[in-house]
Amino acid sequence: MAARQTRPAGEADAIHRRHVVSALVVDRPGTLNRVSGLLRARSFNIESLTVGTTHEPGHSRMTIAIRGDDGHLRQVLAQLERLIEVLDVTDLTGRPHLELELVLVELTPPRGTADKRELEGVLASAGGEILTRDASVWRARLTAAPDAINRALEALRSHGLRRLVRAGAVAMAADSSSDIENGATPE
């Protein structure tokens, strides 16, 4: 458990980047409050936070997408781990993991076949599918990794994008030895 050469928070050469954190928590009122409160107290802006039940009754899994310095974040995650409601915290950044996000979009229907074909191409690039269509509005779903989602949403701006709802990232460790669903802490 020796932690070597850790740098104090806020050092200039710390790497600032997006992190995806997976936390196994106890499913009860207040848990979300406690986790988000701790991140707020440390001035982290949460990009997205999703929560859902797991296959084990009484446990939920949170996926938290967040920007921050590596060292600063590592320290905060140790603080998260300390919460009684939190069973395990894993920073998936920099290790094999799957990450997906679901987005619902509302579009002005395409005018002409070329436009329609392009739109379908954009949707296909982000695991998309048209869900409803009528004369005035189409609604579609995207399911893809955040990068692909972002690129597709950017492209959709020129294809009549009117409204969107993002679900936030869900992520899962994908190392061969991954055992985190059982609450083991991979070091």
Binding site: T6, G37, T53, A78
Partner: protein
């Protein structure tokens, strides 16, 4: 999120005679070894007060819930146990918050019990309803509403387990009134039945990283141990002295590390940090190996972190992984109980030769820094009443065996520097939060927790006026706390900052206070005033004879500062020293 069925859902074979939630709470307290609770009644906790007489629990009626929380904290710190405070919903619960935050910052185990409005009214802005759990979350180790009478036995047992395990802290349990009134047949859990999968418990036993630390010690020429509160929490002060003696390493301490080592021990370096001894801070800056054990390397110790211990490899041992690397660069971080680490070191360390050069350096720096302080200067001999002399005299009179509870401000620093502590659990202070008003109520708890020791509160005139309503509690329960008010008629630390940092632009530093001797007379507390050095020993001796509480109003030189001082934003090498007298 859906609610989990509570593990305590009754299993028919383990049911007990039904009793109301309030009785289950009290039974739980008794099972945890609680003897004394500090509380203030109100509508939502009256079900508890209604049955309190049936249990061997001494209830101390405080005069403000903040006092109750600090008293519970003082009880914990003086005994190493878990203090308990009770408050009603709404204003009562909110009044606990300062005390919870104080305990949280200093890792003090404590259980706070609050009532709330009946379940059906929760969230409806009912009379005296407050979301105390929401308010308490960031200032407690754990806080929860107990929503079912069947949960009560587990909730109480788990609260104590959470409060005292690993890195200790305060826990708040909020009980809607009807949960206290309805019956449950659920028995109290055995320790192995507790369901606390998220509770971090330190891995106990040998600490393999001690190998590497042993090598670092062998390679060091000027090592220094910086010991914090964690050593006392781990009850490892004997081990600390043994390690120091084995390795011939001097031991410095933080504010809450006072008592880790007898200050007269040949290897005790002294109090470090913002108002610590110059010689100790110099050692931190000059050492080549700094071993922090059970401390947080917080800003009152380090000052500017970039200039902290520039010549040293820094080791950080703490039971809380999130502390390591939080504030300072760390060459070796070890997550372990302080006692386990020290025991592991003892198993590995060979007997070292005395570090003659390093200790001689310490001695010569010490001579200079002690001479420069008021204590060494002899200013008191010139007829001025200086705080350091008062504190020193309390130490002498009590043979340094008293529990000393300090408040916040200059008085706190004088107490830390000049009392001369010998033992653990004898110095109590709000180190992390710096809560003015802590001393008198915390001393109340300490005196009840450790009645075999004399208890002194050393408090400024400002802090005293924040919680002085507890004088009535001291009288009602005849709690023998001796209060030394270091009365400079100033918010002294504010005055000091305004003098040194704000070009003597004094604002709100002067404060009026009552005639403390007459105030005490109104309460029926014997009290004395001292204005000259030659009166000090006499009034201390008188106050010590009082069977119950007593107070001494020490009128100090109003312009006395605490030196040395590390200015905000500066480092340990850059301290302001007082003019040599």
């Amino acid at each position: 999120m859906t609610a989990v069925p509570h593990p305590s859902a009754p299993q028919p074979e383990r049911q007990v005679e039904p009793r109301i939630g309030a009785r289950a709470v009290c039974e739980g307290l008794v099972r945890e070894g609680v003897t004394t609770i500090f509380g203030y009644p109100g509508g939502t906790v009256l079900p508890i007060y209604d049955v309190l007489r049936e249990f061997p629990l001494r209830h101390i009626l405080v005069r403000h819930e903040q006092g109750g929380a600090h008293a519970a904290d003082g009880f914990s710190r003086a005994t190493g146990g878990v203090g308990v405070a009770i408050a009603t919903s709404g204003p009562g619960a909110i009044n606990l918050v300062t005390g919870l935050a104080t305990a949280m910052m200093d890792s003090v185990p404590m259980v706070a019990i609050t009532g709330n409005v009946p379940r059906a009214l929760l969230g409806k802005d009912a009379f005296q309803e407050t979301d105390i759990v929401g308010i308490a979350l960031p200032v407690t180790k754990f806080a929860t509403v107990v929503m079912d009478p069947d949960e009560v036995p587990f909730a109480v047992a788990e609260a104590f387990e959470i409060a005292r395990s690993g890195r200790p802290g305060p826990v708040l349990l909020d009980f809607p009134k009807d949960v206290l009134q309805e019956e449950t047949r659920v028995p109290h859990p055995e320790p192995y039945e507790l369901r606390l999968p998220g509770l971090l418990r330190p891995v106990r036993g040998d600490v393999p990283e001690a190998d590497e630390l042993t090598e670092m010690i062998a390679a060091a020429e000027r090592p220094l141990i910086l010991s914090g509160h964690g050593v006392q929490i781990a009850d490892a002060t004997d081990l600390l002295s043994q390690v120091a003696e084995r390795s011939e390493i001097p031991v410095a301490h933080t504010l809450l590390g006072i008592g880790n080592i007898d200050e007269t021990h040949r290897l005790s370096a002294g109090y470090a940090g913002m108002h610590g001894w110059m010689h100790v801070n110099k050692m931190i800056q000059q050492c080549d190996l700094l071993i922090g054990i059970g401390c947080r390397y917080d800003d009152r110790i380090t000052g500017k972190t970039s200039t902290f211990a520039p010549n040293a490899k820094i080791v950080h041992v703490d039971v809380d992984r999130s502390e390591i690397g939080k504030n300072v660069r760390t060459d070796l971080g070890i997550v372990a109980d302080a006692g386990d680490l020290l025991a592991a070191l003892l198993r590995r360390l060979p007997q070292s030769e005395p570090r003659t050069e390093w200790m001689a350096q310490l001695a010569s720096w010490r001579e200079v820094s002690e001479a420069r302080s008021w204590h060494g200067s002899g200013a008191w001999r010139e007829g001025r009443l200086s705080a350091d002399y008062v504190v020193d005299q309390i130490g002498e009179a009590t043979d340094h065996q008293a529990t000393l509870v300090s408040d916040v401000g200059q008085n706190q620093m004088w107490a830390a520097r000049y009392f001369g502590f010998r033992k653990p659990f004898h110095h109590l202070s709000s180190g992390g939060l710096g809560t003015m008003g802590y001393a008198v109520p915390a001393a109340m708890g300490a005196a009840l927790g450790a009645p075999e020791r004399e208890t002194w509160a050393v408090v400024g005139d400002g802090g005293f006026q924040m919680t002085m309503q507890e004088l009535a509690t001291l009288v009602q329960d005849q709690i023998p706390v001796r209060i030394a008010v270091l009365n400079n008629h100033r918010l002294g630390m504010i005055r000091q900052w305004q003098e040194i940092i704000y070009d003597e632009n004094y604002h709100s530093a002067e404060l009026l206070g009552p005639d403390l001797v007459r105030l005490c007379e109104a309460y029926g507390i014997p009290a004395w005033r001292a204005t000259r050095p030659d009166e000090v020993a006499g009034v201390i001796a008188e106050a010590r004879k009082a069977p119950g509480p007593a107070l001494i109003d020490f009128h100090l030189d109003e312009a006395q500062n605490v030196y040395p001082m590390m200015l905000p934003g500066k480092g340990l090498s850059d301290m302001v020293e007082g003019a040599a007298e």
